[in-house]
């Protein structure tokens, strides 16, 4: 199926551009990212890259032509694809490699000389999209450009349904700033960086995270305590247990940690508490609900394992998996993300030694987990290879002190380093 490449919009005020030079010839094999042509605007000369893999079937405009933004300039398809041209006279009937255009495949009308092209539906419309408020806010949260979404509601209105079913298309074209000759074809995957300074409204989630984290850092005096855990046994036990479990039931290191934290908190109510500044009181939460920070598009959410101390690790794991899935799919429920009393943030999968986390208000503390790694350790005056994992506790100094934080981390070791306790107890 042949695809058209359009004149890109290279700035918000660009209305047209001059195609100064064709870099790819008709019949050339092109892939995504290959430079097809050079375009000159009133500001610069830039390259237009292919967004499709295939053969450049047709250059639709000769060099030197001024083309309005979004008008087609080239057709890319499969080698040998049949092409039939409607108004054939102005352009060669046959391309050098002897391929023709199939009319139904090419949604373009070829121009009379000097006449603007009659437009096919451009992939990106410059008009303000007609969308419901909900669709607008969802699109902002998900980072979707509404101009790319096809509205199916009354009068073409974009509604929630259209956002939910939206599949992002390839960007129309990639733009480089280099007015380069000769253009070096790049076979790299299309980059996502846009060489254009833009101002984009903060997605809602991003703004909310900003507010809460600012509140936490400005109001809660944080202190930090780090502990190095021997998790060799945990890694081994996990491997053993997982060999007995179905793929979807397998436990993560984090599941062990979440359970360990919950059991440890039973002895540290101060760290499972919140401050009520107005009443100058501490609220000791009656339940232990361990929050787990999850990276999602445009930010992070804290999903909440409820009454974690009272649940077996398999249940904790299954519930967290369900919530992570919903969070990543943007289908999170309010009960998934509300009511945590202590949070675990784990960057272990990103190969970090350790990090410190900002407390998730109104909680009293947060535990930041680094990667498990093999390191040289000293055992009985001998250097051996051990498996270690660092965890850093951030605590609100208004509620607790360094000694308690340190004791908490020590107590946590009882579970993390003797992980059978986590599998046994309910």
């Amino acid at each position: 199926m042949a695809q058209t490449v359009n004149m890109p919009k290279l700035g918000f005020d660009m209305a047209e551009g001059t195609l100064v030079r064709w870099v790819a010839k008709e019949g050339d094999q092109v892939s995504k990212g290959v430079v097809l042509a050079e375009i000159e605007t009133d500001k610069a000369t830039v390259e237009v890259e292919s967004t499709y893999d295939g053969v450049l079937l047709r250059q639709l405009v000769p060099q030197g032509t001024i083309v309005p933004v979004n008008d087609p300039i080239a057709v890319i398809g499969e080698a040998g694809e049949e092409i039939k041209i409607g108004a054939a006279d102005q352009v060669k009937e046959q391309s050098p490699v002897g391929i023709g255009l199939k009319e139904e495949n090419i949604p373009v009308i070829l121009p009379e000389p000097g006449q603007a092209l009659e437009l096919p539906a451009a992939p990106i419309s410059q008009e303000k999209p007609h969308a419901s408020p909900l669709a607008r806010s969802m699109a902002a949260d998900l980072g979707i450009d509404l101009r790319l979404v096809h509205g199916t509601g009354p009068g073409g209105r974009i509604t929630k349904k259209d956002i939910v079913s939206f599949q992002p298309m390839q960007p129309v074209s990639r733009l480089g700033k280099t007015p380069s000759t000769p253009a070096k074809p790049s076979f790299a995957a299309p980059r996502t960086f846009i060489h254009e300074t833009r101002t984009v409204p903060l997605p809602k989630l991003r703004a909310a995270i900003g507010r809460r984290m600012t509140e936490a850092k400005q109001q809660a005096p944080h202190f930090y305590v780090t502990h190095d855990y021997d998790i060799g046994a945990l890694v081994d036990r996990r491997k053993e247990v997982n060999s007995l479990l179905a793929e979807e039931d397998k436990l993560s290191v984090n599941d062990f940690i979440v359970r360990a934290v919950a059991l440890t908190l039973l002895d540290y109510p101060n760290l499972n508490a919140s401050l009520d500044i107005q009443k100058s009181s501490v609220i000791f939460h009656g339940g232990i609900n361990v929050g787990v920070a999850v990276a999602v598009e445009n930010g992070l959410l804290t999903i909440v394992s409820r009454d974690t101390d009272q649940k077996p690790i398999f249940q904790i794991s299954a519930e967290l998996k369900g919530m992570v899935k919903r969070a990543r799919e943007g289908k999170v429920r309010s009960e998934d993300i509300e009511g945590s009393t202590f949070t675990v943030s784990n960057l272990g999968m990103f190969d970090v030694d350790q990090f410190v986390a900002i407390i998730n208000p109104p909680e009293a503390a947060i535990l930041a987990i680094g990667s498990a790694r093999q390191v040289p350790v000293v055992v009985n005056n001998q250097i051996q290879i051990g498996t270690r994992m660092k965890a850093t506790l951030s605590v609100d100094h208004r509620i607790s002190d360094g000694a308690e934080g340190a004791r908490f981390l020590q107590s946590l070791a009882k579970y993390i380093e003797e992980p059978l306790r986590l599998l046994l107890s309910v």
């Binding site: 408020p133 806010s137 509604t159």
Partner: protein, 323 residues
Amino acid sequence: MARITMREAISKALWEEMERDPSVFILGEEVGVWGGSYAVTKGFFDHFGPERVKDTPIAESAIIGAAIGAALTGLRPVAELMTINFAFSAFDHIVNQAAKLHHMFAGQMKVPMVIRTVSGGGRQLGATHSQTPDAIFAHFPGLKVVAPGTPEDAKGLLKSAIRIDDPVLFIESATLYQVRGEVPEDEQLIPIGKSKIQRPGKDVTVVTYSKMLETSIKAADLLAKEGIEVEIVDLRTLRPLDMEPVIDSFKKTNRAVIVEEGWKSYGVGAEIASRIYEEAFDFIDAPIQRVAQKEVPLPYNQALEQLALPQVEDVIRAIREVL
């Protein structure tokens, strides 16, 4: 739980409150010897006597004026106005005196009174006796306006209305008196100013109250056969208005239809729709629809009267419009 009629539920609430509290008394046209024009107070006169069940002249401003005076001196009058249309004759007393006395005199006085009255059309009573001017009364701060749609709510809300120290306009619907519903035998007080989800659903939020609750439930039953799940929020109280269940529901469904028996212009639907725009703009996925009475003085002719009043089909049509 017993299935009793709306009439019985209201009657029981009055009876129980009068037994409980000797300062509660009833006054109104034909409430005594005759037993009430809708037979709500049948038997009260014989049981409680003429001191506590007072027949009045046909003079609404006198009824409400007397009730206000009694309330100011410490009694708890329940005044009955035969229909809400006659409340216009007592309008000054209701909105200028009852609603304001407590607030104008630094709270020195309380006006613990209930005005029971009947709203709505559909009984061929003509344009002047068939109106639903509920929104007009809900416009005034200082007055509480309650309009239940089920026997259970009617009983629980009326008991609360009698017990609170503010003036309450308690609006009943003439065409709901025969409707039966489950009402708990034991005493239940339902707080004034709380909306309620009367039917859970996920596809569209219908906001309604009083008689139109029944109409909306019928529409929802029919749509359920097509797999459309309608969530119905019953306002129950027009002032103070509890928007929380409405907004929560709307955030879930993103679509709303407001159904009221009164006229659309400047009505309850206008208020609810505005609140949704104000409080949940980013959750709107379709323009909010209002179902209301046609903008005419209600015709006497039966066919025309029914055409002018909101019907089940109108609700279904509006729901389809927003889906």
